[in-house]
Symmetry: C2
Subunit: 330 residues, 2 copies
DNA sequence: GGCGTTTTGGAAACCGCTTTCCATAGAGAA
DNA sequence: TTCTCTATGGAAAGCGGTTTCCAAAACGCC
């Protein structure tokens, strides 16, 4: 077992002091070219790598960003992570990722763990209360939320209200009269989507009907078919909180012998990679997940490098992707 | 800006020395009940949290595990992470996750970054050479590979050879005569799958035909349809390296007007959550991704807590899930 | 050649916690 | 009452870097 090389040994090898080695390695202070060369030579000869924790302890900066996502099995969040990873790499930060497993207690644990290891956090799909999130945010250790707008906290979000208005209007334009909304967990995103749905229906003079998903995933969607089945009037269209639920729902409807879109049109929010590959292919408002990750990371790095008082809120827009699940040809 | 509380201030508040506080908090040495109570009271009054990096620097252990996965967009790896996270939490370790983005250079960077932050690493779907991986492994900082068997390195793998033998035999049993294998990247998993495929064909007296995916994902699968199209004889069945590729392939075949499974049967390896939801649903050898994550993490923790000389190799088995994409009813 | 600047590089304090070793006090034994 | 032993808690030396200051050397200039 080789003990790792320490800065002292590099210093001895180069015939200088540890502080000189540190300065050369970090470019903190110019040294005579000859000295720098000796240091670099010693470093590569000994294969020196600075001890990360000693460094962080000393400098107080880790050049790491924490990303906490709601559920790693949901493609929305993994795409977001991809975007975050890319921008972080460009700005030479390391991303430390954690999966909250849709569990607020676990989320808090992970946040604490990541807070201790990083310079700042991105919370994507948090299930914490607004107060808890506000309490977490500080100029020294900033937080950026994704999919959550809270006063005083920087965020990157989609204009979900408009997205929902558009998606619902699309169904109305298809001639649907009884449009049900399958609601997700009662957080910001769902609130906005439900509001847009209700407003669109009201403008068209239609009555809303909201049912709640047990969980915002495949299984929840499958279970929702039972709810729909019991609903009167039986809807001729469903707006789903996310596309995972829509996919589960469509699978379940198929086994029930309900035809999509002929008997029920289905539409959702998301950007599931297989939305276009299903039969019928799935209509959705495409959420730019990856872009959200990129923007959130960019914003966080910005906040770290020049702290600001006001909480910046970045807004993106979803795009309607009409597909077979909602196109009704009479 | 509140400065974080240090152990010294807790000590002062409790009227003891920092070493006493440390001992009470870590349970390193028994103290008089009254003293312990004073320390705990001071801790909660001041809201003290030990500085992680100081702690790690001092003890040399971080109680964190690094998990490097090939591609976070691939459900196989995210399921694996889920399993890893669960076991790590049970053993009170923190998982630090990194996405190698199928890029060996990036992978090495991430490994170095995680090596500095963790007590041990899990490499799932590594694209490094055997030599590089062996060089990374050491009893002090063990590595466990998933989906890769290398002499001297602990690993958790599926018996891919047998899995492939079974899957190919299944297609042969369906009466297929011209079975093509769509190969993935030339690493252990693909080698084993290809070997199983070849052996199954040979036993049946059939001729193998191997084509290579550009990438082992949706896009690669879509692009592969062109290769198939050009192949003579045109196959009546395809074994795909993974189910992402199979899904892409089936989508592409659909646009070409080739019927699955009537004209071409399709089968793959993996456990994509939508495999059963597609039309036609996808036959595959189900890889227990989550279980692999659990086992790898359990093994790694074991290795950390009682280091061993010999490199343990854990083996799991895949299960055939016959579905519509390969069931040919004449 | 003398003097004021720059360069160059080292000493030492510090980051915040753990841990070893040692001193003291109180309990129990004789 | 004295002595030994154990329970309790503190002092100080790390862990491995960074950074502030300061001294010495080298330089330019008159």
């Amino acid at each position: 077992m080789r003990k790792p090389v320490r800065i002292f040994e590099v210093a001895r090898e180069a015939g200088v002091s540890p502080s000189t080695v540190s300065k050369v390695l970090n470019g903190t202070q110019r040294m005579a070219a000859a000295t720098e060369a000796r240091v670099w030579k010693a470093v590569s000869k000994l294969g020196y790598h600075a001890n990360l924790h000693a460094q962080i302890l000393s400098t107080g900066r880790s050049r790491a960003l924490g990303v906490v996502i709601l559920d790693i099995l949901n493609p929305h969040f993994t795409a977001l992570v991809k975007g975050a990873g890319q921008v972080a790499a460009e700005r030479s930060y390391t991303v430390l990722l954690a999966d909250a497993e849709e569990n607020p207690r676990r989320e808090q644990e992970l946040i604490q763990s990541l807070k201790a290891r990083t310079d700042g956090l991105i919370l994507a799909g948090s299930r914490l209360s607004d107060e808890e999130i506000v309490a977490l945010h500080s100029p020294e250790q900033p937080i950026v939320t994704v999919g959550r707008r809270i006063a005083g906290v920087p965020s990157v979000t989609v204009d979900e209200y408009t997205a929902s208005l558009q998606l619902t209007s699309h169904l109305i334009a298809q001639g649907c009269k009884h449009i049900t909304y399958l609601a997700g967990p009662p957080f910001w995103v769902n609130q906005e989507r439900e509001r847009g749905y209700r407003d669109a229906l009201q403008q068209a003079g239609l009555a809303p009907q909201v049912l709640s998903l047990t969980t915002p995933d495949l299984l929840g969607g499958e279970q929702a078919s039972a709810l729909l089945w019991a609903a009167r009037p039986f809807p001729d269209a469903v707006v789903c909180y996310n596309d995972l639920a829509a996919i589960g729902l469509m699978a379940s409807l198929k086994t029930l012998g309900v035809k999509v879109p002929q008997e029920v049109a289905v539409a959702a929010f998301g950007n599931h990679p297989l939305a276009a590959h299903l039969s019928p292919s799935l209509t959705h408002m495409e959420i730019p997940s990856r872009k959200l990750g990129e923007l959130a990371t960019g914003l966080l790095v910005e906040l770290l490098e020049c702290p600001r008082e006001e909480a910046i809120q970045v807004i993106q827009y979803a795009v309607l992707r009409p597909r077979e699940s909602s196109i009704i040809r009479v």
